[in-house]
């Protein structure tokens, strides 16, 4: 039971790390970023490459988000900035196109073969927790998710930068009138969302196959988390990720053939009771 709960929470934290970037971008920019999974994949490959060059797992975890943040900023500058005043469909199509370009670029650089990001010695093996054996890496995942979640919460809710971000989302014209460059804020937000996706990819790489198309396995659950939690809401994403992670863990324990059904039962159930999601906020205004 303890092992199942801890595993469920570790699944939840991975889902949260990925969903946080997606919901942040939607909440702040009003863009549903279909390419978020592709950024997760680049994160995993960037971590693999950083490890191959340096032999350091820890450096790989740092380098991957930085590299993908730059890529995210370029995507926002080149692809999305001209589209903010247009229909959401055009933004969706643009981010969908970005998936195809990113996947082809990854295929050309790293090929179609599988890659591995091995664990450092300190995170290998298992340990006993209340009588159950749990992989040490699962506990690390759990801790990393909590740390990033707390950091993100503090950044947005408790800092001046967070205040500017929230203001730029809700009252862009006013913020611009105060001399703050809203376009730069948007680029920073997209870069931060991309970095979160990349961190999720890097931290997932030791437990999943690193390969072109690796995001398809997880991106649907990520969207489920964002919808469950309420579009654009970080706190909602945390609660939804924990809910989904625990459902998947206990589902796998007691009815493994029905996990996917259970996921969608939770989604339908929440949407029936609260169609706007558990914690909903309005999307960013255009300006």
């Amino acid at each position: 039971m303890v092992a199942t709960a801890l595993i469920g929470l570790s699944i939840a934290m991975l889902l949260f790390l990925l969903a946080a970037g997606l919901t942040l971008i939607f909440g702040m920019l009003g863009v549903i970023n279909f390419a978020h999974g592709a950024l997760y994949m680049i994160g995993a490959f960037a971590a693999f490459e950083a490890y191959r060059q340096t032999g350091s797992f820890w450096l790989a975890l740092v380098v991957a988000p930085l590299v993908v943040a730059v890529i995210g900023a370029l995507i926002e500058l080149i692809l999305l900035r001209p589209l903010y005043d247009r229909d959401h469909v055009e933004q969706l199509l643009m981010t969908f196109g970005a998936i195809l370009v990113i996947e082809e670029a990854v295929r050309m650089i790293w090929g179609l073969g599988y890659r591995d990001l091995p664990l450092p010695e300190s995170l290998s093996g298992s340990t006993a927790v209340l009588g159950d054996e749990v992989a040490i890496y699962r506990l690390f995942l759990l801790g990393a998710g909590v740390a990033v979640g707390a950091g993100l919460f503090l950044l947005i809710e408790r800092t001046r930068l967070g205040m500017v971000l929230r203001a730029a989302m809700s009252y862009p014209a006013m913020v611009r009138a105060l001399g703050i460059r809203v376009d730069v804020v948007r680029t920073l937000v997209f870069a931060l969302g991309a970095a979160l996706a990349a961190f999720a990819g890097a931290i997932a790489a030791p437990i999943v196959p690193v390969q072109v198309g690796m995001s398809f396995a997880i991106i649907v659950d990520c969207f489920v988390v964002v919808i469950l939690g309420g579009l654009g809401n970080i706190r909602g994403a945390i609660v939804a990720a924990v809910l989904l992670g625990l459902v998947q863990a206990f589902g796998q324990h007691y009815f493994p053939s029905w996990i996917e059904v259970a996921t969608y039962v939770v989604l339908i159930g929440v949407l029936l009771v609260r169609p706007q999601g558990l914690f909903s906020i309005a999307p960013a205004r255009k300006a």
């Binding site: 570790s10 890659r115 054996e133 030791p206 999943v208 390969q211 997880i218 053939s257 996917e260």
Partner: protein, 394 residues
């Protein structure tokens, strides 16, 4: 007179033009191979390897068959049966003399039906469904690689030889996976091996930690894996992190080779798996193939490349031996063909089901020393065809 001469010259010109065209036609004739394999997505890496093996087979025979140059046209099936059928139809409309592929059994079963309608021979060197050479058998389709039943027979022989008494099954939840498991369970029971539990996680499952925990806490002495590609990698990575293979024998069909080893890393060591082909086989044909492959691609051939090379070399040899451009003659000749230049020794095509009888190889992942890959399969068992194939019914 002048009128007669003009007529004679015209006839001569037409005759020359016709003859010339015929000669030119023979010189220009090409042997077209339509490759329908996955070249993108999760199985793209397999299609790429098959492409390498098949192309090397042609290169090593001088690039010709029946005196004509061999030309490949590769099409990406995207691992979707309907796309595979569209691409195969296009290839046949473009004059393909034979089809080669596909990767997934679903695609192969779909393509072999349209190949039969067009009477175009099709060579299968990977897809394992028993239906390909069983209930859906076609006069025009031949498989030179392992079928499911053969793989399962190897699994049962391995479990028996390793002295396993209780096995836990982890099976990807799709039709072929469940069929394979039912088949394997029957074979394990024949060896007096008890199935103590089974789990059917969905295809593309992201997390196996709970199942791994259940297996670890069970009294099974072995865990049989029936899953492919990314699913197998995810299971092996996550089970390796809690040391499952230190306490249980982990074995499966096609769950580990040098390609998978790149994804699973050090956690691969000790995992047991069936192998379609292994580069360490010490036959003259294989030594020559491995040498050529390493020179061309700078790496050892994996099992997908090895099987593709072997099947293509065999089929084109048979085509050459017929000396004919009639596909019906190729098919008839291949039905009763024995290939003693196989990289795996000798393969015999069974006329009854168009399945090649051959040896089966089982291996364990070990740490490879240069020049071998970091994860290398050590061949632990080689089973003879008499153990793996039931005789054809009369």
């Amino acid at each position: 007179m002048r009128k007669g001469m003009r007529a004679a010259m015209a006839v001569s010109a037409i005759a020359l033009a016709t003859f010339g065209a015929t000669v030119a036609g023979a010189e220009d004739k090409e042997f077209k191979i339509g490759g329908v394999v996955a070249l993108s997505g999760a199985y793209g890496v397999i299609g790429e390897a098959m492409q390498k093996g098949a192309e090397l087979a042609v290169e090593m025979r001088g690039g010709t068959v029946l005196g004509a140059p061999v030309v490949f046209d590769w099409q990406d099936t995207e691992t979707k049966p309907q796309v595979a059928v569209q691409k195969a139809t296009k290839l046949m409309a473009g004059g393909a003399n034979m089809l080669f592929g596909a990767v997934s059994s679903g695609s192969t079963l779909a393509v072999m039906k349209v190949a039969e309608r067009k009477k175009v021979p099709m060579l299968v060197t990977l897809s394992a469904s028993d239906d390909i050479t069983g209930s859906q058998m076609s006069r025009y389709t031949f498989r030179t690689s392992n079928p499911v039943n053969m793989e399962n027979q190897m699994m049962a022989e391995f479990a028996s030889k390793e002295g396993l008494k209780k096995v836990y099954g982890v099976v990807a939840d799709y039709t072929v996976g469940r069929e394979m498991w039912d088949n394997l369970k029957a074979k394990l029971k024949d060896k007096n091996i008890e199935i103590i539990a089974e789990d059917f996680p969905p295809l593309g499952n992201k997390d196996y930690a709970i199942i791994v925990d259940k297996v670890a806490k069970s009294d099974a002495d072995g865990v049989a894996m029936i899953m492919t590609g990314g699913d197998a990698i995810t299971f092996l990575k996550q089970s390796g992190q809690v040391g499952l293979k230190d306490n249980k024998e982990v074995f499966g069909t096609m769950v580990m080779d040098e390609l998978m080893g790149k994804a699973v890393g050090d956690l691969s060591y000790g995992v047991n798996s069936t192998q379609r082909y292994h580069f360490s086989t010490e036959t003259d044909a294989n030594v020559a193939f491995v040498k050529a492959f390493r020179e061309k691609y700078g790496e050892y051939p994996n099992q997908f490349a090895g099987e593709a090379f072997d099947g293509m070399s065999w089929f084109l040899d048979v085509v050459d031996e017929t000396g004919s451009w009639d596909p019906e003659e190729w098919v008839t000749a291949f039905e009763s063909s024995t290939y003693d230049k196989s990289v795996e020794g000798t393969k015999v095509m069974r006329a009854c089901d168009h399945q090649a009888a051959q040896i089966g190889v089982f291996g364990k992942a070990i740490k490879g020393e240069a020049p071998y890959p970091d994860v290398t399969m050590d061949v632990t068992y080689t089973f003879g065809p008499e153990l793996l194939f039931a005789p054809c019914a009369d």
